[in-house]
C-alpha cells in the first residue's frame, strides 16, 4: 500500500524503533515510549466537562425551571375532566302541573384532539345532517377557540332517533366523535306561560365569560323566570376525572364532583286559572292579573298575544324571530309588566283615597253639568248630560269626571304626585321578571325636565281622571287594589309558591279611607259601572276604566264615535280592577284589554269569567243585586287577615310547608301522584 511505503520513507526523523518484520499474527509495537498527545488529552477532558455541564443545565431547565409546567402538561395528557350535566329544575304550577320540563336530546360532539382527520370528519357530519359543509366549518371554527383541550365541542345539538341510530353505527370509524346525551327544555303549555317562564337558549360567549360555571352548549335562561331563577334552576355540574392513555382509551374513571340537579320550583300561578283567563280574553291583545291581596301571590298572569317559547328553546330561526319581532301585535311584550297604559277611570280609586287623606269630606257635593270650563278649554264628563249632584261615593260609582276635576284642582298636582308615588306608581313593583317598566306619575319637575315647560292646570284635570301623562302597568294597579283590601300594605307580587310575604311600602291612608274606597267599589260592582262582575254568592267590588289613547277632537254637535267605527290603534283601552271574596278566599283581578273599547263592556266580561273559574258559576241570579244586600259593614272594616299556613302532603310523600289556604277550601284538582313514568333521572351523564 502506498500509504505504508511513503510512511517508511519519512520515518527518518522519528525516534520510534520499528524493526520487527511485519507478519500475520505477529504483534507490532511501533511506539513503546508512547506519550499521549497533550492537546488531545485536554480535548477529551474538556469534552466530558462540557457534556456534564450542558446536560445538567438542560435537565435543570426542563425539570426544575419548567418542571411544574411540564408536570401539568403530563397531567393534562393523562387526565381529562368530563362534565356530568345536571338537569335543569322543572317549573311547576301550584298544583304540580308541569310548566317547564326536560326532555332527552342526543347531540353529536367532537373532541378535536382525538380526531385524526378533522376535515373528513366535518364532511361526514355535513353528510349525516344535510347541513352545508360551510356551516359545519363555521361552527367548528367559532367554537374551537372557546373550548378547553379535550373538551367535547358540541356540533349538533338535537338529532332525531333515526340519525342517532345511523351515526352510532358508523361512529367507530370516526375517532373524536361522540354522541352526548343532553337535556333540552320543553314547555308543554306553550303560549300560555311563555311570558312568565321565558325561555332558555344556548349560552353565548359573553355569558360564558361572566360565569365560569358555564360551558359550551349549556342552556341558560334568557327571558322570564328562566332568566330570573337561573341560579336556582341550573343545578351544579358534576365532574369525572378520566384517566386515558395515548390512544384516548379510558383506563379509569373517578367521580370528583357529584352533580346536583337544579331546584324544582313551584309557582303560585294556577295553570287552569291561567287558561281560563287566557280563554276569557278571546285572543284580544291585553292582559289579566289575578293576585291574592293578602299575600301578594299571583294566581294568574296572562298576556296576549303570546308566542310559543319552545321555538326559542330549540334555537329560533331568523325568520321566526323577525316575524315575532316585527309583528304589529307585539307578541314578545309582557303586557302585565312591560306595557304602560293610561289607567283611565280606574285611577279614580287612587284619587278618591288621596282626596280623603287631604281633608275632603266624602259628603261634600259637586254639581256635574257634563263639563267644566278652564279658560277657553272645555273638560267634559264622559256623560254628556252630566251626573247632577255628586258626592265622593256616587262620583266613584258613576265615575263622574267633573267631581274629580274640581277636587283635583283644589288639591293640586303636587299632592297627587306625592300620593300616587306612595301608592307604588311610577316605580317597578319588584316582581321577579326581567325588564319591568316603571310607568309614570307626572309632576311639575318631570314636565320641566321633559318638555322644558311649566305645569298647567288643565293637565291636573287630565291626571285626575287617569289621562294625560299618567301611565301605569296592570301589575301596579293590582298591587294598589290589593293594598286597599289588606290594610294599605303594598306587596311585592310573588310568582313563586314558597316565598314569604314581602311588604315593599304602605299606602299613606287610614283604614277608614281604604274601607271607603272598598265600599265604593262594592257598590260599583253591585249597581254601578262595574256591575258586570257583581255576584250574588260572593262579595265583589270593582272599578272600570276606559282610557283614551288619542286626544279626542270633535267639533260641537259631532257625536263621539262608537268603538267599532274607530281605527284599532285609536280605540280606547278597556280596564277593570276588581276584587272578590268568597268563603275566606279573596282575589284581586285586573283586566286590561288594549284598544278594547269600554271598560265595563269589554274588560268586565273577562273579569267575570275569571271569577266564574275562581268561585264557580254565580249561584244567585238575577243581576243586578240590590245594594242593600251587601254584607254588614263590621266585616268590611277589618282588612283581610293573611291566610294561615298549613301543611299539605306534597306529591313526593314528604310534608312540605307551603303558604296555602286550607285544603278543604280549595277546589278539588287532580294531584299528580309521584313521578310520571319515563321521567328523566336525577342527572344525565355523557356517554363517551
Amino acid at each position: 500500500m502506498t500509504f505504508r511505503n511513503r510512511r517508511k520513507t519519512d520515518d527518518a526523523g522519528n525516534a520510534v524503533p520499528e524493526k520487527k518484520k511485519r507478519s500475520w499474527l505477529k504483534i507490532q509495537v511501533e511506539s513503546e515510549r508512547y506519550q499521549p498527545p497533550r492537546n488531545g488529552a485536554i480535548l477529551l477532558q474538556v469534552l466530558v466537562g462540557i457534556f456534564f455541564f450542558v446536560f445538567v443545565a438542560r435537565f435543570w431547565y426542563l425539570q426544575i425551571h419548567r418542571g411544574a409546567e411540564f408536570s401539568e402538561q403530563a397531567q393534562n395528557n393523562r387526565l381529562r375532566m368530563e362534565l356530568i350535566f345536571a338537569p335543569r329544575g322543572r317549573i311547576l304550577d301550584d298544583t304540580n302541573k308541569v310548566l317547564a320540563d326536560n326532555r332527552t336530546a342526543f347531540g353529536l360532539a367532537l373532541v378535536p384532539e382525538d380526531c385524526h382527520d378533522v376535515p373528513a370528519t366535518l364532511a361526514q357530519i355535513s353528510e349525516w345532517t344535510n347541513l352545508p359543509l360551510d356551516q359545519v366549518w363555521d361552527k367548528y371554527r367559532s367554537d374551537r377557540i372557546k373550548v378547553k383541550p379535550f373538551e367535547p365541542l358540541l356540533m349538533i345539538t338535537d338529532m332525531d332517533f333515526e340519525l342517532v341510530a345511523r351515526v352510532e353505527s358508523e361512529l367507530i370509524n370516526w375517532p373524536g366523535l361522540e354522541i352526548v346525551v343532553r337535556t333540552k327544555r320543553s314547555y308543554p303549555e306553550k303560549d300560555l306561560f311563555a311570558h312568565v317562564l321565558g325561555y332558555v337558549a344556548e349560552v353565548n360567549e359573553r355569558e360564558m365569560q361572566a360565569d365560569p360555571e358555564l360551558a359550551m352548549g349549556d342552556l341558560v335562561g334568557k327571558q322570564g323566570l328562566e332568566l330570573e331563577l337561573e341560579k336556582r334552576l341550573r343545578g351544579r355540574k358534576g365532574e369525572y376525572e378520566v384517566e386515558v392513555d395515548a390512544h384516548s382509551r379510558m383506563l379509569g374513571k373517578r367521580l370528583t364532583k357529584e352533580p346536583q340537579s337544579g331546584e324544582e320550583i313551584n309557582l303560585s300561578l294556577d295553570r287552569d286559572l291561567q287558561e281560563a283567563a287566557w280563554e276569557a280574553l278571546q285572543g284580544e291583545a291585553g292582559c289579566v292579573v289575578v293576585m291574592e291581596p293578602d299575600t301578594g301571590k299571583l294566581r294568574a298572569l296572562v298576556t296576549s298575544p303570546a308566542y310559543d317559547n319552545n321555538i326559542f328553546a330549540a334555537g329560533i330561526s331568523q325568520r321566526d324571530w323577525d316575524a315575532l319581532r316585527t309583528s304589529k301585535r307585539f307578541p314578545l311584550q309582557n303586557r302585565v309588566i312591560q306595557s304602560v297604559y293610561p289607567p283611565g277611570s280606574v285611577w279614580k280609586l287612587v284619587m278618591a283615597a288621596m282626596f280623603l287623606e287631604n281633608g275632603v269630606s266624602p259628603n261634600e257635593g259637586v254639581f256635574c253639568p257634563g263639563q267644566v270650563k278652564l279658560g277657553n278649554q272645555i273638560f267634559r264628563c264622559w256623560r254628556r248630560g252630566g251626573h247632577g249632584s255628586q258626592n265622593m261615593q256616587s262620583a266613584l260609582i258613576n265615575s263622574c269626571d267633573v267631581y274629580f276635576y274640581i277636587m283635583a284642582e283644589r288639591l293640586g298636582i303636587d299632592k297627587i304626585e306625592e300620593f300616587a308615588k306612595a301608592c307604588g306608581f311610577g316605580r317597578p313593583t319588584g316582581i321577579d321578571l326581567p325588564h319591568e317598566k316603571s310607568g309614570l306619575v307626572p309632576s311639575r319637575e318631570w314636565k320641566r325636565k321633559r318638555f322644558k315647560k311649566p305645569w298647567v292646570r288643565g293637565e291636573t284635570y287630565n291626571v285626575s281622571i287617569g289621562q294625560g301623562y299618567t301611565l301605569v302597568t296592570p301589575v301596579q294597579m293590582a298591587v294598589y287594589v290589593s293594598s286597599l283590601l289588606n290594610g294599605g300594605k303594598l306587596l311585592k307580587p310573588q310568582l313563586l309558591d314558597a316565598t314569604p310575604v314581602e311588604v315593599v311600602g304602605t299606602v299613606p291612608a287610614s283604614l277608614k279611607t281604604l274601607n271607603f274606597v272598598v265600599e265604593s267599589m262594592r257598590k260599583t260592582a253591585s249597581g254601578g259601572t262595574a256591575r258586570v262582575v257583581g255576584r250574588k254568592d260572593a262579595d265583589m267590588g270593582g272599578k272600570t276604566g276606559t282610557a283614551q289613547v288619542v286626544k279626542l277632537r270633535f267639533a260641537a254637535g259631532e257625536r263621539r264615535l262608537k268603538t267599532a267605527e274607530m281605527e284599532y290603534a285609536q280605540r280606547d283601552h278597556a280596564w277593570i280592577a276588581t276584587w272578590g271574596r268568597k268563603n275566606d278566599k279573596a282575589y284581586v283581578v285586573v283586566v286590561m284589554v288594549e284598544h278594547g273599547g269600554g271598560g265595563s263592556s269589554v274588560a268586565g266580561p273577562v273579569a267575570k269569567k275569571v271569577y266564574e273559574h275562581l268561585f264557580g258559576p254565580d249561584e244567585g241570579a238575577p243581576r243586578p243585586r240590590p245594594a242593600a244586600e251587601t254584607p254588614p259593614p263590621a266585616r268590611r272594616a277589618t282588612p283581610l287577615a293573611p291566610t294561615p299556613q298549613s301543611a299539605r302532603p306534597s306529591p313526593e310523600g314528604t310534608p312540605r310547608p307551603r303558604n296555602v289556604v286550607p285544603l278543604e277550601t280549595r277546589p278539588a284538582r287532580p294531584q299528580p301522584q309521584g313521578r310520571p313514568a319515563g321521567q328523566a333521572p336525577r342527572y344525565k351523564i355523557i356517554i363517551p
Binding site: V16, V48, V56, L62, Q63, G67, Q73, E243
Partner: protein, 369 residues
C-alpha cells in the same frame, strides 16, 4: 494467561459498565410496563431479553480479553475491505425495512453491515493514526479522510444518516485527538459549515430535513413530527426534582412517550427519577467516559491509545446525540443510548468495545522488561 494482567485491569471502567447496564435493565423493566386497566400493569419482555443480551455481551467481552489487542492491527485492513464489500452488496441483496435498505438477511438472522463498518473504521483509523505522533499534514489527513468517506458514502445511500454521521464524528474525534497541522485544522474549521450547507441542500432526504425543522420548532406540528420531541420533553420535565418514582411514569406507561424502550428510554428514566436521577446518570456517564480516557492516556503504545480514544468517541457521541435528542438539544436521529436503550446487537457491541478498552488497560505494561 498471565495472572498479572488482571492487576492492571481498569476496574473502575468495569464497575461503571456494570452499573450503567443494570440501571438500563431496571429502566427497561419500568418502560416495559403498560397500564391496561386501572392499576394493572402488563410487562413487555424487553428487560428479560436485555438481560440475555447482556450475558452474551459479557461473553464477548471475556473473549476480547483473551487475545492481545495488538492483533487487531493486523485485522484492520481485511475487516475494512470485507465491510466495504458487504456495503456494496446491500443495494443488491438487502431487504428494505421502513423504506431504508440496511440489512442483509442470512436466513436465520439479519446483519447490518453499517454497524460492522463502525467497528472496522474504528480499528482502521486507529491503525492509520498510530503511524507516528506528528500532527497530520494535508496528505495524511486526506488519506484518513478518504478511508472514512468511502464507506460513509455507501451508508448515506441506504439511507442511514445516523450511522454515517456517527462514523464521521468518531473519525473527527480521533483525528483531533491525534492532532492536525494548524493550517489543516483552520481549513477544516472553515470547511465544516460549508459541508453542513452542502449536506442540507444535496445530501439529505426530505424526511431528514423535516426532522431538523421540527427540532427547531416542535410546536408547529404537535400531533405529527413534533410529537416525539414534545412528549419526551413533557416526560422529562414532569419528573421535576425527585421524579415520579420507579414504575410511576405516566408518560411512559400510558404510551404517550414513543419509542420508550429504544431511543427515548432515557426519558422514562428522567420521568421516574427526576432531576436527581438525571444528574446521577450524567455523572455516571462522565465517570464511565473518564475511565476510558484514563486507559487512553495510560496506554503505552499509540495504536492501543488510538483504539481506546476511538471507543471513547464511540460512546461519547452516542450519549451526546441520544440524550441531546431526548432533552431537545438535537434533532431526532435514530441513535440509541448505550446500556440504557434496548438493543441486542448494540449491547453486544458495547460490551465488546469496553472489552477492548479493558484489554488495552491490562496489557499496558506488557512492553516493560
Amino acid at each position: 494467561m498471565d495472572k498479572r494482567l488482571f492487576t492492571y485491569l481498569n476496574w473502575s471502567l468495569l464497575l461503571w459498565l456494570i452499573a450503567l447496564y443494570f440501571v438500563g435493565v431496571g429502566n427497561l423493566y419500568s418502560a416495559s410496563g403498560t397500564r391496561i386497566e386501572s392499576g394493572l400493569l402488563s410487562y413487555a419482555p424487553f428487560y428479560q431479553k436485555q438481560l440475555i443480551w447482556g450475558l452474551c455481551g459479557l461473553g464477548c467481552m471475556l473473549l476480547t480479553l483473551c487475545f492481545d489487542y495488538r492483533q487487531l492491527r493486523n485485522l484492520a485492513w481485511p475487516a475494512y475491505l470485507a465491510c466495504l464489500a458487504l456495503l456494496m452488496l446491500v443495494p443488491v441483496v438487502g431487504s428494505t425495512i421502513y423504506g431504508a435498505k440496511r440489512w442483509i438477511s442470512l436466513g436465520f438472522m439479519s446483519i447490518q453491515p453499517s454497524e460492522m463498518t463502525k467497528l472496522a473504521m474504528l480499528v482502521l483509523t486507529a491503525r492509520l493514526l498510530s503511524r507516528d505522533g506528528k500532527p497530520l499534514d494535508w496528505k495524511n489527513f486526506f488519506m484518513v479522510l478518504a478511508a472514512g468517506l468511502l464507506p460513509v458514502g455507501f451508508i448515506l445511500k441506504q439511507p442511514d444518516l445516523g450511522t454515517s454521521m456517527l462514523i464521521l464524528l468518531i473519525l473527527a474525534g480521533m483525528i483531533l485527538f491525534h492532532g492536525l497541522k494548524p493550517a489543516v485544522l483552520k481549513t477544516c474549521l472553515l470547511a465544516v459549515p460549508c459541508a453542513g450547507a452542502f449536506m442540507w441542500f444535496v445530501g439529505m432526504h426530505d424526511y431528514q430535513r423535516q426532522r431538523i425543522l421540527t427540532f427547531l420548532n416542535p410546536g408547529d406540528d404537535p400531533r405529527g413530527t413534533g410529537y416525539h420531541i414534545l412528549q419526551s420533553r413533557i416526560a422529562i420535565g414532569s419528573g421535576e426534582l425527585w421524579g415520579k418514582g420507579f414504575g410511576g411514569g405516566t408518560q411512559s406507561q400510558l404510551r404517550f412517550l414513543p419509542e420508550r424502550h429504544s431511543d427515548f428510554a432515557v426519558a422514562v428514566f428522567g420521568e421516574e427519577w427526576g432531576f436527581i436521577g438525571c444528574v446521577a446518570l450524567v455523572t455516571a456517564f462522565c465517570l464511565f467516559l473518564l475511565s476510558i480516557f484514563a486507559t487512553a492516556v495510560q496506554a503505552k503504545d499509540r495504536f492501543g491509545s488510538m483504539l481506546v480514544v476511538g471507543v471513547f468517541f464511540y460512546f461519547f457521541w452516542q450519549i451526546c446525540i441520544n440524550m441531546g435528542m431526548v432533552i431537545g438539544l438535537m434533532p431526532v436521529v435514530g441513535i440509541p443510548l448505550p446500556f440504557i436503550s434496548y438493543g441486542g446487537s448494540a449491547t453486544i457491541v458495547n460490551f465488546t468495545l469496553v472489552g477492548i478498552v479493558l484489554n488495552v488497560s491490562m496489557r499496558r505494561f506488557m512492553f516493560k522488561g
